[in-house]
Symmetry: C2
Subunit: 873 residues, 2 copies
Amino acid sequence: MNYIYAFAEDQTLTNQELGGKGANLAEMTRLGLPVPAGFTITTAACRQYLASAKQETGFLEDELMKAVHILEEKTQRQLGNAEQPLLVSVRSGAPISMPGMMDTILNLGLNDQTVIGLAEMTNDPWFAYDCYRRLIQMFGDVVYGIDKPIFEAALTALKNKRQVQKDTDLTLVDLKQLIETYKGLYVAAGQYQFPQSVDQQLRLAIEAVFKSWQNPRAQTYRRLNQIDGAMGTAVNVQQMVFGNYQGQSGTGVAFTRNPATGEPGLFGEYLLNAQGEDVVAGIRTPEPIATLKAQLPVIYEQFKTIANQLEAHYRDMQDMEFTIEAGQLYVLQTRVGKRTAPAAFRIAVDLVDEGVIDRPTAISRLKPTMIDGLLHPLFETSAVQQATQLLTGLPASPGAATGAIYFDAQKAQQAHEAGEKVVLVRQETSPEDIDGMVISEAIVTSRGGMTSHAAVVARGMGCCCVVGCQQLQVDYEQREAHFAGRVLKEGAIISVDGHTGRLYLGALPQQTGVHETTLGTVLSWCDEIAPFAVWANAETPQEVATAFEFGAQGLGLVRTEHMFFGPERIFKMRQMILATELADRQVALAALKKLQITDFKQIFSLAEERPCTIRLLDPPLHEFLPQNEVEQAELATALGISLAEIKRRIADKAEVNPMLGHRGSRLAVTYPEIYQMQVLAIVESALAVQTTYHHAVTPKIMLPLIGTATEMAYLKQLLQQTINDYLVENQQQLTYQIGTMIEIPRACLVADQIAATADFFSFGTNDLTQMTYGFSRDDIGHFMPDYQQQGLMPAEPFQTLDQDGVGALMQLAVQKGRQTKPDLSIGVCGEVGGDPTAMPFYRDLGIDYVSCSPYRVPSARLAAAQSQLTLAD
Amino acid sequence: MNYIYAFAEDQTLTNQELGGKGANLAEMTRLGLPVPAGFTITTAACRQYLASAKQETGFLEDELMKAVHILEEKTQRQLGNAEQPLLVSVRSGAPISMPGMMDTILNLGLNDQTVIGLAEMTNDPWFAYDCYRRLIQMFGDVVYGIDKPIFEAALTALKNKRQVQKDTDLTLVDLKQLIETYKGLYVAAGQYQFPQSVDQQLRLAIEAVFKSWQNPRAQTYRRLNQIDGAMGTAVNVQQMVFGNYQGQSGTGVAFTRNPATGEPGLFGEYLLNAQGEDVVAGIRTPEPIATLKAQLPVIYEQFKTIANQLEAHYRDMQDMEFTIEAGQLYVLQTRVGKRTAPAAFRIAVDLVDEGVIDRPTAISRLKPTMIDGLLHPLFETSAVQQATQLLTGLPASPGAATGAIYFDAQKAQQAHEAGEKVVLVRQETSPEDIDGMVISEAIVTSRGGMTSHAAVVARGMGCCCVVGCQQLQVDYEQREAHFAGRVLKEGAIISVDGHTGRLYLGALPQQTGVHETTLGTVLSWCDEIAPFAVWANAETPQEVATAFEFGAQGLGLVRTEHMFFGPERIFKMRQMILATELADRQVALAALKKLQITDFKQIFSLAEERPCTIRLLDPPLHEFLPQNEVEQAELATALGISLAEIKRRIADKAEVNPMLGHRGSRLAVTYPEIYQMQVLAIVESALAVQTTYHHAVTPKIMLPLIGTATEMAYLKQLLQQTINDYLVENQQQLTYQIGTMIEIPRACLVADQIAATADFFSFGTNDLTQMTYGFSRDDIGHFMPDYQQQGLMPAEPFQTLDQDGVGALMQLAVQKGRQTKPDLSIGVCGEVGGDPTAMPFYRDLGIDYVSCSPYRVPSARLAAAQSQLTLAD
């Protein structure tokens, strides 16, 4: 059995034997690229070494001698030769990448003799002795476990003595002295010696790499990443090349395309007569790669050809390191290049256009989280680094915005009307704040989580929002707010980063917005393969328009209650709620109906023939009632009853657990006239839009909070009767559906019974999660931090679908619902409808669509398509 | 095909052909009992009649003539014969009993001639003409549809004219005149005539009975009771016998055993020379059946033999009607006798002792609801009828009690200490009222349902309780209450009936309590066959003692939080809750631990070796905090902090939906020291009791509100560690279990994961129902009445297990839990643990025990056994 192979010597070997780095070097060698020569000691050797009782490399001896000999022939240099010294790197390389977890030794082959040869070869004695010094340090650390700080301390002591700041300020003499000091440290640490025998250097280095497979941080990394500990690591021994060699030499880094924009063409930088270290140390400023063309045109063209060849071979943008040694170009490494979100989209589309990859491959390379960065502004990175950070909250809705802080909706509106850019800062928001929220650049709250009112509304509007700022106290009396102790008066300017949750003092400049038409191209490919459609949750005309602009194929959730919070509307609503007689309620409802028709007409005309799912009134009625006495008094006057009576009627509606109280379809059992008004408003609007715009409208009327088949059947019959009576009376025809949210656990358990009368199902995952987990979203702040601290709740179930619990109920509901109606339309319209990690689950569930807030539609389209690709794997 | 059979002529015929009454008469005839002769026209005849286009009885004519002829021979009387007139009754009798739904005609065969013969035979002309008058009236009503009130009006007019009050004050002449008037009413109603032909009377009567099968009230009854409308009714024609005939005659009613007490021996009453009518009209007072022995010893013995024969034949206590006509005893009817609850138990046990029935039969004849009447006092029936009823509420806990009304716990206690019997009347109760509740005879609230705090606590104590009195307003300011408008001051006396939910003004006398040792006998038989055990939910020593007295085999739910509401304890509790530092909390916990040890020792010593399941602290902490400012101020002073600070800390604990908030095991994730204190209190108590009483104690420690496997595993490990550290340190040994409530829907869905670390499961059906249905028990009052009115919620799911929804989750949990641990102990400890209708479901579920409040234990034991019997069917 062989343990050592020159790069590309045996093309049947894979990552398993050669490790990732070894395979990569072999691959480049195989492609005929100018890779510095070297060989790989296989993982089998590592396993053999670690398994033997007395760990020794004796079994490798013959092969190693042969491999070194071949390498010396190839490079025309010899290990230990003082004139033409061969220097090598010894690096680990496991089958699965474990960045930085194991050890590396560079410049191996230097000793008191060969260092002189290197100094002559490079015409740079300082560099040669610095390499030697580094080898001694690295070798001591890796082979003998002499801690780096011991060497660093000696270096620092010398610099102090010489009163210099930088390593490079030391003289050649200093370096030679340091080398002697370092050698002394070996002896002091345990009677070791730095071996002057280069053969011994090589053997000890190889053993050290083998052993590093078992070091504690490598073991921890493997445990965390579930990597098999029995594999072992390969060892790569490779010729060192020098960009500071005599003649045409240099070093550089380049990408095959611009990693910031994705623009095609070589992008990178280089330095002539330099080592990679020089670039890192910032001693000299590198040149853009384009100027290499003028300086070394032949080498530039050669590199360009190589770059193209690598990109074509790996079928993705490459990030390459190269060195020119005495007019000879070497490629040291290539890997898939990291890139910004806009670049990722552009590169994906370009590679498809160029015929390099197919569309599914392009889709699979993109991440849903990249899209937020495309849709929302960002602050300039340099400005952020220098800004005064106030505090960090939860990043509830992405974006970057600057404005003057105001503490209530009314003040915010006034400032906005006066031309100010406004940031609404509150303890929490409620539906009453909606007008102030709409005109704000950003919304900040001290309470609430990722699914609080502020967060949900802001995401719906695409407005930057940070919530749950525990270090923020708003003092409404004093009109000031404490940001982690720093007091800011109303009107002060802050900047809000909705991507990170950070707040900054003052105004920060924004990056110029990147608008990518390539996004649309990729998403249209996604729609072709996605296993289900993506719809949107939206109700205002602005939200609805945004949803369709972002490619939503329908509206999965139009919440009608959000429509009742305008100043004119809420009064009618309150009048309706507080009516004690049906007749009074009917009067208020008639006024509300006119307003609802206005809303629905706008939605239906924007939606054209796309399905619109309108949910009838859902929240407990007391949410609409004023909580402070001033407003209560106003209402009393307006309704012509006493304040005491108003208070009594409001108290009457109060509930201990409103989430599980008189809301949703339960309202319609008590007050059928509310839902009857709403369905007539829907029907009249649909008919009007059909007539005006000549396109079909098929409203999907959705009943919230259905828990039993009897209430579903009862309300369906009631509303169908109401609608049909209207249609007959007015000699009109309309196709419509009456379906239900599935958001109560019981509804999942009796979904077969409910499906008998429901035309469609739509999972309301927010409520379903609340009830399945027994978690009130408004109250989990009291204990969720403790759970997360103890590691008892890895993912917030309102953000990431709980597949074991909530998901199991959803599976039951789909199976039972389709048992009754095989072609039942089923969607998911709660907060986790846009959760990318849940998409494979939704695919297996066999639903027809997910529905999420407009700004999450693009990432949901991508994630949906990707779920289909993982299936194909 | 034959349509008519003399009684017992063909013994192969069943209820289906003969109807219930016909089969019963045939059966008695077959037994050789002296039943008046007669014949049955089968249901087939009715179907034939109703099916034919022109409804006629022609097809029966020949058979009917023959049957009448045979009857005349048997009775030695002839239909229409003026000297020896045969009179018959014509009655319907359907295969399934439809009491009072169809028609009957008595004394058929009377006309202007035969009435004279009857007068002579009975030597009672008044009686004969009264019979004739009644026949004419009944016949007019049944055959021609001439409304009864028309006849009644004529009767009343005559009485007015004669200035008499009672029918019996009319003279013979008056009756004769009335008969002529009645005949005139036939003509007036539609040119009808009362037929003097007795043949015609018979044919018309038979047709009328056939038709009555289709009358509206019969149709409604069949629809409501799901009785097949195609069956038709049979018709029974039977000789009338007269207890007022010349010679030894009389009539009576008797039971084979005392229906009030169950005491063996004939029980009943009779009148000589009288018709049944006389008894009903109350003209004469009947004699006890025993005196018949002296008056007519032969007949008495004959009747006694018949009674024994009937009871032996039907194997149950019989309710019989008999008539003696001229020395000849006739049995007119026998049926299973109705009886009181104590009688039912005594009879069941006696019949088993006598070898008449076996134990399962005895068990199957009893109803779980009977037991309430055995355990709790009742008001005297006669007193209730005359009492002034105030209003009706929901009967939350059975019993009957009288006392002075008080509106708060403190006043109630003061009155109690002054020697008064007290009824606590409140809008609602809270844990703070517990001391006032304990000393009250009865508890009444205006709000809340069958599972409100008042209801649950009262049932636990076996205290009479009426809740949800919508017509009750308590005015705490004026110290008065409005009972449906009637104002009563504090201190006024009322009586409360917890069986019916009725409140009465003043004091009502109670029935002498019936304590039945037979109950214990029956329940011990039940335990032998029950498919699962019955445990109790109890925590006070009194409750625990009651539970074991009533045969609980363990404690399924000891709620530790109820122990913290005493005045001394609640302060320590508040101190613990409001502590901001762990050290302060530890001080308060140490004090609470001592008190808990006192509690647990009592429980363990009462329980002996029975299992005790102790639930650790469950409710949200703010339930323990004072809500009114006076108490808050007291607390502030006691804790040495400002009122504002107290208010702030209390507000901090407030939650929007406390039911789904920071409670149950979630408290222990935040404050592990609370549960650690509780488990150590349990362990120390168990060890102490083991030492003192020399019996093993095996505490089952129960974690509430577990929803994930991670929190179960985390808390189990934490508490196990705490306990084991203590045991090791103190060199002690103790067997204990740590299990969980299954009360969150998610827990059911991941029960396989939770079972990995839980030692047992106990379904908390209250919370499970709340979350599965999305119903807050405290708030369903806002909409449940509307649901019930619309028929959308047939049973209150907190009273009757929702098998389709909640039950489906329970099935999942049992299946998944036992998949992980095949021998996992599983119980049901919520409110529906004692629901008799759920017992067959629990049997199929395969649980180990149900646990309910102590006073429900006996009925649960009965229902559990019955569930096994239905399985055997």
